[in-house]
């Protein structure tokens, strides 16, 4: 089985000139794991990830691992200001360029192992054609549902 069989073809994307406000609206309204940012030629420039968004609003001493946990603080300081600041940014300033991508021919097993790679800790994998054109997106559940098809007991 290959990536092309499990991927979702309709992907919500953003253009390079979009603002983070648009990205936040998408996240608020829909179930998305990552939002790919596509340039005019259709090439993937990067993705908007939850990790990047958290980094944008939580203080560095929390997200950079300076504190192991913050159990002792019942609530973190309010970050409304930080969200406001994040919303004003362009997606180009926030996007993650180091995203995980495969070709349509990549085996689903390899896709599954990529989800387990602790160095990548990604929540979605992009499927790219030649010229880095976006063909689809795969979530861990897509892969797992594919594996479940081999089991008749459900």
């Amino acid at each position: 089985m290959i990536a092309a069989n499990v991927m979702t073809k309709e992907v919500i994307t953003l253009g390079p000139d979009s603002t983070m406000l648009e990205a936040l609206r998408i996240i608020k309204g829909k179930e998305v794991r990552q939002i790919p940012v596509i340039d005019r030629a259709g090439k993937v420039e990067g993705v908007i990830t939850p990790r990047k968004l958290f980094k944008g609003i939580l203080p560095p001493y929390v997200v950079e691992g300076m504190l192991e946990d913050v159990k002792f603080a019942p609530e973190l300081p309010e970050f409304v200001e930080n969200i406001k600041r994040l919303a004003k940014k362009g997606v180009e300033d926030v996007l993650e360029k180091d995203f995980v991508a495969v070709t349509p021919e990549t085996s689903t097993m390899e896709v599954a192992t990529l989800f387990f790679n602790p160095a990548k800790h990604t929540e979605a994998i992009l499927v790219l054609g030649p010229d880095k054109k976006l063909l689809g997106i795969i979530s861990p559940w897509d892969v797992f549902r594919r594996i479940l098809e081999h089991y008749n007991g459900l």
Binding site: P59, P60, Y61, E64, M66, L67, E68, D69, V70, K71, F72, A73, P74, E75, L76, P77
Partner: protein
């Protein structure tokens, strides 16, 4: 002999220059210098090894191991939050409380670890209080270096001095530690007028601090108990170091070994976490300085200094205090102290013997440790906090820090001068 002297001097100057240039790792610089001296025939390897103070290295490694294990318990975060709650969330008193916690922890553990563990809590507290963290960070840098001055194990210069001269933990507490609270007060009082007066926080924000639960900061109660037992035994042994006739490294390494035995932490991880670059820096530096002794350079320099001070203890003491302080504000105090130790030892006969020059060691300790507060590059803790501050979007500029810290450092040296004068030189 004459060539050896010139080579040794050239290597020493090159090592110092590279350390000040600060582009090559200091451990590499020191090891290059040390091995060059052996390769060029100034010292043979046996003589080089004789120059290494293994007591200092042993104590440093032991304390690193103890800190690596105990920082996992969350006890330092606990102390910082507890202190902030004890003063009911009042911002100025939080600054004072954090400073006292930082100074106290630094007196027993290394300064860099102390600030690495407590400064993130400072960011969280100042965020909750919607205050600029800057004054808090400056206060913590200064108090970490001030606290480190208080004991034998608080700061590397003291470890080196204590080891080279045979001074114990309590010797440092009685002679240097006693003035440290006054130095801390002398630093914080001007800061009140600079920053504290302006700090205003609503009761609602203070309640946020009071809602913190410091008990949640403790991650492992069993490990905490083990660490506290070992720390108590180790510090206890240090207090009775003189009657027990034990060298510092023996006490420290025993404590570290016991903790590694009972803590059931991964020993590989604990050993890996030791700052080996610092250890090898010390090792190389000891060899480089020892070569100066072997070729007779330190001896003649000691004689010249004696002639210059006219053999007067007061002049020698005050000169050492002030020169050490100013020098340590700009250069690493570790190579400075490493060089001063044989120099002072060389001056001892001309000043009435080893017992008579004891005040000079206290002058060196106070000057070298407190001097590090003078600039942003004066001590490792300063550099580390500056790095953390920049990461959190509150960069500390060199000049902005120096404008406040240098005068405060001078105040601390004035306090030390008065203290030394009254205690050792008056009458």
């Amino acid at each position: 002999m004459e060539t050896n002297l010139l080579i040794a001097l050239a290597v020493f100057v090159a090592v110092y220059a590279l350390l000040i240039w600060d582009k090559i790792n200091r451990a590499v610089v020191a090891l290059l210098g040390a091995s060059a001296l052996v390769l060029l025939g100034v010292l043979n390897q046996e003589a080089a090894v004789r120059g290494i103070d293994f007591n200092t290295l042993g104590l440093l490694i032991a304390m690193m191991a103890i800190v690596t294990i105990s920082q996992k318990t969350g006890m330092f975060q606990y102390l910082a939050i507890r202190a902030a709650k004890m003063v009911k969330g009042n911002p100025w008193w939080i600054l004072v409380a954090l400073s006292v916690v930082t100074a106290s922890v630094s007196a027993l553990l290394d300064n860099v670890t102390t600030v690495l563990l407590t400064v993130p809590i400072t960011f969280l507290l100042t965020d909750e209080l919607e205050l600029d963290p800057y004054p808090f960070l400056v206060a913590q840098v200064l108090s970490s270096n001030i606290g480190g001055t208080a004991t034998l194990i608080g700061d590397p210069p003291n470890i080196m001095i204590g080891s080279a001269v045979g001074l114990t933990f309590m010797d440092f507490v009685y002679n240097v530690g006693v003035i440290v609270p006054a130095v801390l007060a002398g630093t914080l009082i001007p800061m009140y007028f600079l920053y504290g007066k302006k700090m205003k926080v609503s009761d609602e924000l203070k309640r946020r601090i009071m809602a913190f639960n410091e008990n949640e900061a403790i991650t492992d109660k069993g490990l905490l108990a083990k660490c506290l037992i070992v720390l108590a035994i180790t510090i206890g042994a240090f207090i009775f170091q003189k009657p027990l006739h034990l060298e510092a490294a023996t006490i420290g390494l025993f404590g570290a070994a016991v903790l590694m035995l009972i803590a059931k932490e991964d020993v590989h991880h604990v050993m890996e976490k030791a700052e080996w670059t610092s250890i090898f820096f010390f090792l190389g530096l000891f060899v480089v300085v020892h070569s100066l002794v072997e070729v007779g350079l330190i001896g003649s320099l000691a004689q010249k200094t004696l002639d210059l001070t006219g053999g007067d203890m007061k002049v020698a003491g005050m000169t050492i205090l002030w020169v050490s302080a100013i020098a340590s504000a700009f250069i690493d105090n570790i190579p400075f102290v490493a060089t001063m130790i044989p120099l002072l030892k060389g001056m001892a006969p001309g000043l009435g013997g080893p017992d008579a020059i004891l005040p000079l060691w206290w002058a060196l300790s106070l000057g070298a440790c407190l001097g590090g507060n003078g600039t942003l590059i004066g001590a490792s803790a300063n550099v580390v906090v500056a790095g953390m501050a920049a990461k959190n979007g509150h960069p500390i500029s060199f000049m902005k820090f120096t404008y406040v810290a240098f005068p405060l450092m001078l105040i601390s040296i004035v306090i030390s001068t008065v203290y030394m004068w009254l205690r050792y030189f008056a009458g």
